[in-house]
């Protein structure tokens, strides 16, 4: 084999983050090369640079020995580099053939193209009807369209970003067959994933990123899921710091929670069960897109389910809306700060009112008590050290970390019985993150029950009393976080719902 792509100390910084720091690796012709890392490890930035979407700050690339620096994706495609994104750029009301034409720089005429699509899709075992509408197709079929669009341009390097997160196990098998066949035909594949079993099954080589740096390279066939997980997580996983955890009575109980996802790219919840006790922090880990947003929506009341599926203090509340749940003490903070947890152009004071109305009594008889609302907003700003010139400032004017502190503070200061937070410290600087974790712990120490959904295992290990993993919409059995090993976590993320041989919590 000979070298196809050489990446030499690529670096890329965004304000506040070094997304890629001197990243170097090589891809051989015809190999399937895994790019492995946790969320935020810098994988997407790296491939965007290879595909010409992002310009590196420094470093160089060589494609078959020639300098390679694509200024835009169409140039990358001309050089034989194509990419299938996690979220497809397809047009629902157009046919397969029309979609493929739009993405090609020199498309042949209709009849010729249709014939080509049929031929290529047959060859690679991904049958496609060129005349079908995208809108009528499943997510897996849509991915085929993207793949065929790339294949028609005869790529030498084929980049796939988390391709299996949207596929059924059967579809994954088909895809793997296609990729192996491509590899046998000499096409190199850069495969981005954090699913360890896939990488073990498919890839020839792996480059592992952590915090924007290459931390290891390996041959997956010589590794185990555990050793890969250790490399990915860093092997330095903070094993749980023992806290005094004396759980009280069960306050929140989920029983066989099933919920169809509203989002066509979402993951439906299947039989999620758990029992949360007073004073407990349950950490829920897992790869993004495995049902985290859906779980939050089901708990916040934005999506309703059968009443008995969610019980709060013995009452079936699955059919209640967000405010009725707030009244009963179940509060939540979604992942997306702007546009979901907070309204961007509204002031902090108005955003304090947004969820604080009920429990803080900010609008008795419906009339907004402006003084009380401002006081509540100021209380949040003070208690959570939100840096802002005042509470009349629009939410979108705050930095991400400050707004996150505000959003978490808003819920914590309402003295919830149960608080559910999704990605509480995503994109937040270390000091703010520590403050948020401290506040959540204090809340639990004061007797509330907390669910923290996060993709940051370090964070979950630091904060949780019990731990579970969401995988494909199913929740593993929660168990004590203390004493959990990286191997056990890796297995749960791989879909082992019983959590190996660990004792029941």
């Amino acid at each position: 084999m000979s070298v196809l792509l050489e990446v030499e100390s690529l670096s890329k910084s965004y304000p506040g983050v070094k997304a890629n720091d001197e990243v170097s690796f090589t891809i051989q012709k015809g190999e399937i090369h895994a790019l492995l890392g946790e969320n935020g490890a810098g994988k997407s930035t790296l491939v965007k640079m290879i595909y010409g979407l992002v310009k590196p700050d420094s470093g160089a690339m060589l494609l078959e020995g020639q300098p390679y620096a694509p200024p835009k994706p169409s140039m990358a495609r001309k050089s034989g580099v194509s990419m299938v994104f996690q979220h497809f750029s397809l047009f629902e009301a157009l046919t397969v053939a029309e979609n493929i034409t739009l993405g090609m720089d020199d498309a042949p005429n209709r009849r010729e193209l249709s014939a080509k699509i049929r031929a290529v899709s047959q060859d690679y075992g991904l049958p496609l009807d060129p005349d079908r509408l995208i809108g009528d197709m499943s997510v897996g079929e849509r991915q085929r369209v993207e793949i065929i669009r790339c294949l028609l341009q005869n790529p030498r390097l084929f980049i796939m970003d988390e391709p299996t997160s949207v596929l059924t196990p059967q579809e994954v098998e088909v895809l793997f067959g296609t990729l192996r066949q491509l590899s046998a035909n000499g096409v190199a594949i850069l495969y981005i994933s954090h699913k360890l079993d896939e990488i073990l099954a498919l890839c020839d080589h792996a480059t592992i990123l952590r915090h924007g740096k290459v931390v290891a390279t390996c041959t997956p066939k010589e590794e185990t899921a555990t050793s890969l997980a250790e490399m990915m997580i860093g092997g330095e996983l903070d094993i749980h710091i023992a806290t005094t955890f004396s759980p009280g009575a069960v306050v929140l109980q989920l029983q066989g929670l099933d919920m169809q996802s509203k989002n066509p790219f979402g993951t439906s919840l299947r039989g999620v069960s758990l029992a949360l006790r007073k004073g407990e922090i349950l950490g829920i880990g897992g790869v993004a897109g495995n049902g985290q947003d859906e779980l939050l929506a089901a708990l916040s009341g934005e999506e309703k389910v059968a009443p008995a599926m969610i019980e709060l203090a013995g009452e079936g509340i699955g059919g209640l809306g967000p405010n009725e749940r707030r009244e009963r003490g179940l509060l939540s903070a979604p992942e997306e700060r702007l546009g979901h947890a907070a309204a961007p152009v509204m002031s902090l004071s108005q955003n304090a009112f947004l969820t604080g109305r009920i429990r803080k009594g900010l609008a008795p008889n419906g009339v907004i008590n402006a003084r009380k609302t401002n006081d509540f907003a100021r209380e949040i700003v003070k208690a959570f050290d939100v840096r802002t010139p005042g509470v009349q400032v629009a939410a979108k004017a705050l930095s991400g970390g400050n707004l996150q502190k505000f959003v978490i503070g808003r819920e914590v200061l309402q003295a919830p019985e149960v608080l559910v937070v999704n990605q509480p410290t995503w994109g937040v600087d270390a000091a703010a993150a520590a403050a948020i974790r401290q506040a959540l712990r204090q809340l639990a120490a004061d007797g509330a029950a907390v669910i923290v959904i996060s993709q940051d295992l370090d964070e979950l290990m630091e904060i949780s009393d019990t731990f579970a993993v969401l995988a494909e919409g199913r929740l593993s059995r929660p168990q004590p976080a203390e004493g959990l090993t990286v191997e056990e976590i890796g297995l749960m993320m791989g879909g082992d719902l019983e959590g190996a041989n660990h004792a029941e919590a």
Partner: protein, 310 residues
């Protein structure tokens, strides 16, 4: 009741004439909407076309130049809407309404010295021998060139949208402007062009009203035809051929209503006149109710402002 005065052939001929302004405006709006732009200014562009067409025709003495002038006037005034919505990201609904009001007023001002003048006559396209042929000759060969052109235009639009790459790109902008942008297409420019095409068609339709249908200039003479054209596009579920169907149906109702009035059955006139609007609402409801189908029929980005992220 005596229906003998309702000559079927004559009525069809009348119907097609009545439907042509609607047809022209609607096919233009269809193209704009396919690119993702909801332009509620059709009525304004039409009346501008009516007055510019009228002025051009009476000044030059040539009805054909008049039609060209109408199309040009409509296209020019539509650039106001295009610039505001595409480059200043203004709200399409509000901007379209502004265009309608602006157009109605401007046309009234421009045409104030043209009241009561007769425009040059637009001749029918006579095909020797065929036009005098009974029934079929009258049905097929008794029209002015614009009527033939309007039908040709529907075909041309269908062909462009469904058979050319340019049409595909235009539809792609209307379906998913972010994806079109990420594939490297200039969404704003394409929409600008589609809006101008819509303006030209509406202007031509307006000129047809002032030069053929009435034929003279009076203030506000388009009398809501632009709004009907908007409804026709929905009625046609954004399909060119169905625009013909819808426009001729509206034309038919107009003619039927006039004929019934001539027969002294005026009571039902108002009810008859409202039926097309009610039918449109019913069709709209039926098409929207199946959300999946609706999302495939209507351009998904219709009415949404596009901001290029980089």
């Amino acid at each position: 009741m005596d229906f003998s005065s309702l000559n079927a052939v004559a009525m069809i001929v009348l119907l097609i004439g009545a439907a042509t302004p609607i047809l022209l405006a609607a096919i233009g709006e269809l193209v704009a909407e396919k690119s993702g732009v909801l332009n509620l200014g059709v009525e304004g562009m039409m009346i501008i076309g009516a007055v510019t067409g009228f002025i051009t025709a009476t000044t030059t003495g040539s009805p054909m130049l008049g039609f060209a002038g109408g199309a040009l006037g409509g296209a020019l005034v539509s650039t106001l809407f295009a610039f505001l919505t595409q480059y200043l990201h203004s709200n399409q609904v509000a901007t379209g309404l502004a265009l309608t009001m602006f157009g109605l007023g401007l046309a009234a001002l421009m045409g104030r010295n043209y009241n009561g003048i007769k425009p040059p006559r637009t001749d029918r396209l006579e095909v020797p021998g065929l036009s005098d042929f009974p029934v079929l000759g009258e049905l097929l060969f008794s029209y002015d060139p614009i009527i033939y052109f309007s039908v040709f235009l529907v075909f041309a639009v269908w062909w462009f949208l469904n058979r050319t790459r340019g049409g595909l790109v235009l539809r792609a902008c209307g379906e998913n402007h972010d994806a079109a942008h990420s594939l490297g297409y200039n969404v704003q420019l394409i929409r600008f062009g589609a809006i101008m095409f819509g303006g030209a068609c509406a202007g031509l339709g307006g000129a047809y009203v002032s030069l053929v249908r009435v034929p003279q200039w009076t203030e506000g003479m388009t009398a809501g035809v632009g709004w009907i054209a908007l409804a026709i596009v929905v009625f046609a579920s954004w399909k060119p051929w169905r625009v013909i169907l819808g426009a001729y149906m509206f034309g038919g109702i107009t003619i039927l209503q006039l004929s019934l009035q001539a027969l002294g059955i005026s009571i039902s006139g108002a009810y008859l006149s409202m039926t097309p609007y009610i039918v449109t609402i019913v069709v709209l409801v039926i098409m929207s109710a199946d959300r999946k189908r609706a999302s495939i029929n209507a351009p998904a980005c219709l009415g949404r402002s596009f901001h290029a992220s980089h």
